[in-house]
Every structure is written in structure tokens, then in C-alpha cells.
Amino acid sequence: MDTAPVEASPPPPTRPGNPDVWVVVAAYNEGKRLGETLRRLCERYQNVVVVDDGSKDDTREVALHHRVWALRHLINCGQGAALQTGIDFALARGAQVLVTFDADGQHRLDDIERLVEPVQAGRVEVALGSRFLGGSVDMPRSRWLVLKLGVLFTRLFSRIKVSDTHNGFRALSRRAAQTIRITQNRMAHASEILDQIRQHDLSFCEVPVVIRYTEDTLAKGQSSWNSLKIVAELLLGRWVR
């Protein structure tokens, strides 16, 4: 299901090797697709952190073939935990702007600059990618419906008005990254981040991005039924501290 034209306005000029920007990639069993993603990322960014979340394949080896920082979780902890590990590492090395980017090639490289720009300019603390403002290629109708229900749930639960709740493409200022602490190890982390943005009163904006779905990404990605699990994790997570 295409929600908008794929090719939006041409991307603003990139600044190759911008040392302030750190791209954090969480990867689990992504040996097949990670190489291409990292090859493209390394062409533009000198600071890329890959967190191998206890993969059983050659994800770490693939990462080490590129000019990136490779970290490895000894066991699989979940995407939320992997992102927090990457964020901690990037912050310790002086990152000023942090971008979370999917390992599977769903995200477009050109969109990174669009996300980073409002954060680097100091207009907002967090820039959230939105496929409903940008576009998506080959999104199944069931996924579209689940994401829309997610938006509704987030408005009620987190009381934050966004058009896309479970988009892993976002940019954080250093202050935001220091303030937000992901405790939801698995997929509920996306909702937790929105929750904390509101709790800490961090300024944010949404930026149109394009998400490209393929058979591979749909097969590996979270199923629509997982959304119920995410809701349960989020609700229980509020009670359990």
C-alpha cells in the first residue's frame, strides 16, 4: 500500500563525514542485508555504531568489514536494549546528534539529513520520522491498519499527537538522548520513547520519511499480532519499576 509519492523533494546537501552525527543501527540476524546498509551509511557518515543483538548468523562479522563501531550483546535482548547500548556508546564518544536507523534497508539514506537538520539547528530536541507524512512502498493493508490503531492508542495512552508511532527512524539531540532511557527491551521501546518525550517535555517534530517494505522485511519484522504484546508490555511496564 503506497501512502504517498516515494520520491519527495530532493534531499538537502549532505555533509560527508559530519563528526557530530552518530548513526545507531540495531541488528539481529541481519547478515544478509546489513552489508549494503552499512556500505551506504559509511559513504556519508564516519560515526556508525552497529549493535549486534546476539545474532546467530554472521551479523557481527559483516559489520566488522565496514568502517563502523561493532558492539555485540552476548545474548539477544531486543531492539530497544540494543538501541540503548548504541546510544550509550555514542554519547560516551561525544555524539551531538544521534540517529536510529534500521539494519534491513527499509530506511532511505537521504532522509537522515532531513531528520538531523531540525535537531542540529536547535529547533527541536527530537525529530521523528513519519511514513504517513512521507511515504511507504508496498505496505500491506493489515500493517497500515495496525499502525493507525497504534497512533490512536498513543494519543490516548501517551497523550502525544504524532502521525506515526512505531517508526524506528528518528534523530535525537545529545540532551534528548541523555534524558530518554529505554527500559523496554523489545518492541515497546518505540512507544516508551514517545512517552518519555512527553514526560520530559522535550520538543519534537515529525519529518516525512519513506519506508520501503519487502517480503524479507515483512517476514522478519514484527507481526500485526505483536502489537497486542506491545500494548501488554507497555501497560505492565508502567506498573513494574
Binding site: H65, V68, L71, L236, W239, V240
Partner: protein
């Protein structure tokens, strides 16, 4: 006293004796110890006098003693489930912190084209 009462009361009696020995031996968590003793005593009293649960049930508006026990078990199950979920979640967070620490300590810089 029937056979069932004889067997279960003996087992519960031994459990209470064991609790007393544990208490005398050394430091125990007083809350947890008291809870265990109450559970063993409660079970022993209910088994020794089956009519007691019915009288207690009727005093709180429940007809049968068996229903009172069922409701109590459901409530206890929910409390215990939540307790273990919370404990498991805390443990998972602590484990994640350890794994994170190790991952950051052992970070490696990859080299383009290396194999």
C-alpha cells in the same frame, strides 16, 4: 479423622516444625517466614475442621467453603503472578545492564574491506 486428614495434617505438621527449626537456626526474612507459617496453619485448620471454611464463607456472604477457597486461590495466583513478573522484569533489566556494559567494553572498530 479420615486417612486424607491424617496424611495431610502430618505433612503440614512437619512443615511447621521445619519452619520453627529454620527460625531458631538463623536469620530468616520475618515477613516471608510468617506468611509461610500462616499458610501452613490455615491449611491445617481448614483440613482438620472442614465445616470451618463453610462458616467463614457464609459470614462473608459466600455460600460454600469450596467457593471461598477457589476465590482465595484465584486472588493468590494473581498476586503471585504479578510478583514474579515484576521480579523477572527487574532481573531482565539488571541482566541487560551487564550485557550492555560488556558490549561497550568490547566494542571494536571495523575496517573497510577487511576479512
Amino acid at each position: 479423622m479420615n486417612v486424607f486428614q491424617g496424611v495431610t495434617l502430618t505433612i503440614l505438621g512437619l512443615a511447621i516444625v521445619r519452619e520453627l527449626i529454620l527460625f531458631r537456626r538463623g536469620p530468616v526474612s520475618r515477613g516471608a517466614w510468617l506468611l509461610r507459617v500462616c499458610v501452613w496453619l490455615g491449611a491445617a485448620v481448614a483440613i482438620a475442621d472442614p465445616g470451618l471454611t463453610s462458616r467463614v464463607a457464609q459470614s462473608v456472604g459466600i455460600n460454600r467453603g469450596a467457593d471461598l477457597i477457589s476465590y482465595s486461590f484465584i486472588l493468590a495466583f494473581l498476586v503471585v503472578s504479578f510478583y514474579f513478573y515484576a521480579r523477572c522484569a527487574r532481573l531482565q533489566r539488571q541482566l541487560t545492564e551487564v550485557i550492555r556494559h560488556l558490549a561497550i567494553q568490547e566494542a571494536r572498530r571495523g575496517e573497510e574491506g577487511s576479512r
